[in-house]
Symmetry: C2
Subunit: 163 residues, 2 copies
DNA sequence: CATGCGAGTCAAGCTGCTTTACTCAGTGCG
DNA sequence: CGCACTGAGTAAAGCAGCTTGACTCGCATG
């Protein structure tokens, strides 16, 4: 869980910009998360796939809706769906409201992944709460929520790669 | 600063996972930051370039060192340096300790960018502190610092794209 | 001198996305 | 009815940013 390569010696974490801290925290958490998922035998799904699953979770969505929520073009979303369909994680069904639309829905395999991922993530965050000692990651959570609200209103922005 | 496309109606920010919140917060901040930089006439430099500048800031570094700090291959780092050199932001100087090494250092243009970027980032964070009302982004900062320390020890990990 | 190592670089390839351009189903309107 | 128009999906090509593999060169060490 720790980097043992000491490529540089200065230790200026406290003075670091908020933005940097956010980036590092996110990166570390996500990396650890995906690593644990891989250990749990889910190495074939990257974070973006988990994101797709969450979006499709309740009622599915059309390709275009998916694209909007992911913040990519509909072609890119289509490629993701192609891939996931081929691997048996989603199905394209005719859309109930007809038209040229198709409804992309999750298969059982995807729901199984969501279950594992959810547990893994919760474990990770719980473990982290213990390790920081503070125990009140709740504080952190509410502060972050305020920050996000301040910048994006009530609509969660698409979560996308970062540079 | 806000997304006005309301592509979905549920509003479950509070129950969101910590990891999601971190991702959204980071993404929003970085997007706003780069946008403001672009308005300030620095549209030709992406966040990764700012990262490079910060690494080279004090004493410069060799290509390999830079690659390690960025978390990419030395070839990728070399391409970044090629690009920045061509655009006048860095120079390759012979390394004082000789060998095949070269020391990559910043030009005045890069230092100017760092100044603008630093100010922009500070303004943004200050404005955010006002808008959240809490005023104590210091709390957030220290909590994030604890989190990062808990996961990475004292060595800031390379900050890289995320999925 | 030979061997090996580490830094840098050249070249090819890949992946995930974008841009451009098209097809097709439904809608509204003369 | 015929006909433009819209919006979803798809097909194809291109591109950016990275990787892997193979190499060159400077220097240290035996």
């Amino acid at each position: 869980m720790c980097h043992d390569k000491d490529v540089h010696t200065d230790d200026r974490l406290p003075e670091a910009e908020l933005t940097f801290l956010l980036g590092m925290a996110f990166q570390l958490l996500l990396a650890e998360f995906t690593e644990r998922l891989a250990e749990a035998g889910q190495a074939d799904l990257r974070p973006v796939h988990g994101m797709v699953f969450q979006i499709l979770r309740s009622e599915g969505a059309t390709g275009t809706e998916l694209a909007q929520r992911l913040g990519v073009t509909k072609q890119a979303a289509g490629q993701l769906v192609d891939d996931l369909e081929q691997r048996g994680y989603v199905r394209r069904e005719p859309h109930p409201e007809g038209g040229r639309r198709k409804l992309v829905v999750l298969t059982d395999a995807a729901h199984a992944h969501l279950a594992v991922a959810g547990r893994t993530l919760h474990d990770l965050e719980a473990e982290l709460a213990r390790r920081t000692g503070t125990g009140d990651l709740a504080t952190l959570r509410t502060e972050l929520t305020q920050l996000v609200r301040a910048m994006a209103g009530d609509t969660p922005p698409p979560l996308r790669p970062v540079w």
